[in-house]
């Protein structure tokens, strides 16, 4: 299908984009790489009156390091981050997860912030942001604010972003010393949305597991360092708490089983890596 009609503004500056979304409210949609929004336009699942294209805004292009995080702005494409020299050293979780985001052809266009703003509950980038306890940088014509990833994702494709706000950047905490990171997912085919995706962050005191594809948003739990049956029990409780549903791709029972198994696998892998770098 083809999109319904909309006006189009190729914003030349951040101020121009923010003024446009302030004026048009929920009639306007931001488009960056278009890899999530344009399919929805084509299928007429959304019919905005105005599209504001932010990909020509020079100041939103290049990631920068700031206070122990990599701040990735709205215009950074997924392929650019993945090709960044030493990305596996500075952001090991992203380096592991990004190859599962769509395909080479969609990563060449799609942005990290676009995926976060879209907030599909199965998507890998929102999952990593939650696992890493990152931040979403929101900006409107009137104010700027930063929201913890845990608070940003509200429900299926629903976020804390107001209609006049742009996801200006995401802040991804850089690799911390003595900390291990791991990612795994199960999907029907590589590049499809995951049935269940898990991301783990483990240091000397604490283990954190984030799960995507089960609840209506990526959801994380923190535990002290657990193993054996204590870990089994914790994972089992999480698997039930997430309220897995049944759809064409998987039964609820299969999803719970994947949470237990993938969860254990990534936690053990991250714990092993943490031990190695503490070694």
């Amino acid at each position: 299908m083809k999109p319904a009609r909309f006006d189009y503004l190729r914003a030349a500056s951040l101020d121009e984009a923010l003024a446009a979304i302030a004026r048009h409210g929920d009639e306007a949609r931001i488009v960056a790489g278009g890899q999530s929004l344009v399919p929805m336009l084509n299928m007429r699942l959304t019919k905005p009156g105005l599209l504001v294209d932010v990909m020509r805004i020079e100041t939103l292009r290049t990631p920068r390091r700031e206070n122990g995080a990599l701040v990735v702005p709205a215009g950074t494409r997924q392929a650019i981050l993945l090709d960044r020299p030493h990305v596996a050293d500075e952001l090991p979780l992203l380096a592991a997860a990004l190859p599962f985001v769509g395909h080479v052809q969609t990563r060449a266009r799609g942005t990290l912030c676009g995926s976060v703003a879209h907030a599909d509950p199965s998507a890998e980038i929102p999952l990593c942001l939650v696992a890493l306890e990152g931040e979403v940088h929101l900006r409107s014509a009137k104010r700027a604010r930063r929201v913890r990833a845990d608070d940003f994702f509200v429900g299926m494709m629903v976020t804390d972003r107001a209609h006049d706000e742009l996801v200006e950047a995401i802040g991804l905490p850089l690799r911390a010393p003595g900390t291990g990171y791991a990612f795994a997912e199960v999907g029907r085919r590589h590049g499809d949305f995951a049935i269940v995706a898990c991301a783990a962050v483990v240091d000397g005191r604490r283990m954190r597991l984030a799960v995507g594809g089960v609840a209506d948003r990526p959801t994380a739990r923190d535990w002290p360092l657990l193993d054996g049956t204590a870990l089994d029990d914790a994972l089992n409780a999480l698997a039930w708490d997430l309220g897995a549903g049944e759809d064409i791709h998987a039964t609820a029972r299969y999803r719970r089983d994947l949470v237990r198994r993938l969860g254990r696998r990534v936690l053990e892998q991250a714990a092993e890596e943490a031990r190695r770098c503490q070694g």
Binding site: Y8, L9, Q35, Q105
Partner: protein, 174 residues
């Protein structure tokens, strides 16, 4: 820039296969339709129209892109490359096309233009791409005829030819 009105047609200017191109489009026009209907360049195919099948893949500024997920107005000033650019002259095949022919890497041919453009863009940046990398690139495309094996064989061989290596003459049917 001024806001482009939804119900009007607007001229966009970009580079298409090395030559200047102009086409009038509504803001909602997809790049696939601008190429096919606006410019008569029907080598770019339209399959699923939501980014899954890969038949419409072209290169924008050297990077592969789904033309069906690209608004035509967004390529203003960009360099667009389509399958029509691959043959060096009418009646001759480019290196990738010749490898596809040798390996029977197409049957109905519907998906082929997109696969060729993905591989063309990838091999220009990464001439030493491994079989695994090329397999992953091809994984971004749906082909319902071949089972992919001959496509992968053709891609691996074309990469070798482009690097100037000699290849075996006997075609493998994978």
């Amino acid at each position: 820039m001024p806001r482009l009105d939804a119900v009007r047609r607007h001229e966009i200017v970009f580079s298409l296969n090395g030559a200047p191109a102009r086409v009038e489009v509504e803001p909602r026009t997809l790049l696939t339709d601008a190429l096919r209907h606006g410019l008569g360049m029907t080598g770019t195919h339209v399959g699923c129209e939501h980014g899954v099948c890969g038949a419409c893949t072209v290169a924008i500024d050297g990077e592969p892109a789904r033309a069906c997920l690209t608004l035509a107005v967004a390529v203003e000033g960009c360099e667009v490359r389509t399958v029509e650019a691959l043959a060096p002259e009418p009646g001759r095949l480019g290196v990738l096309q010749a490898a596809f022919r040798r390996h029977h890497a197409l049957q109905c041919g519907f998906c082929t233009a997109g696969i060729l453009m993905s591989l063309d863009a990838y091999l220009r940046c990464r001439p030493h791409a491994t079989r695994a990398e090329l397999t992953e690139v091809i994984g971004g495309h749906l082909c319902r005829c071949t089972g992919y094996a001959p496509i992968i064989a053709a891609a691996v061989e074309a990469a070798a030819v482009l690097r100037g290596e000699s290849i075996e003459e006997t075609p493998s049917h994978a």
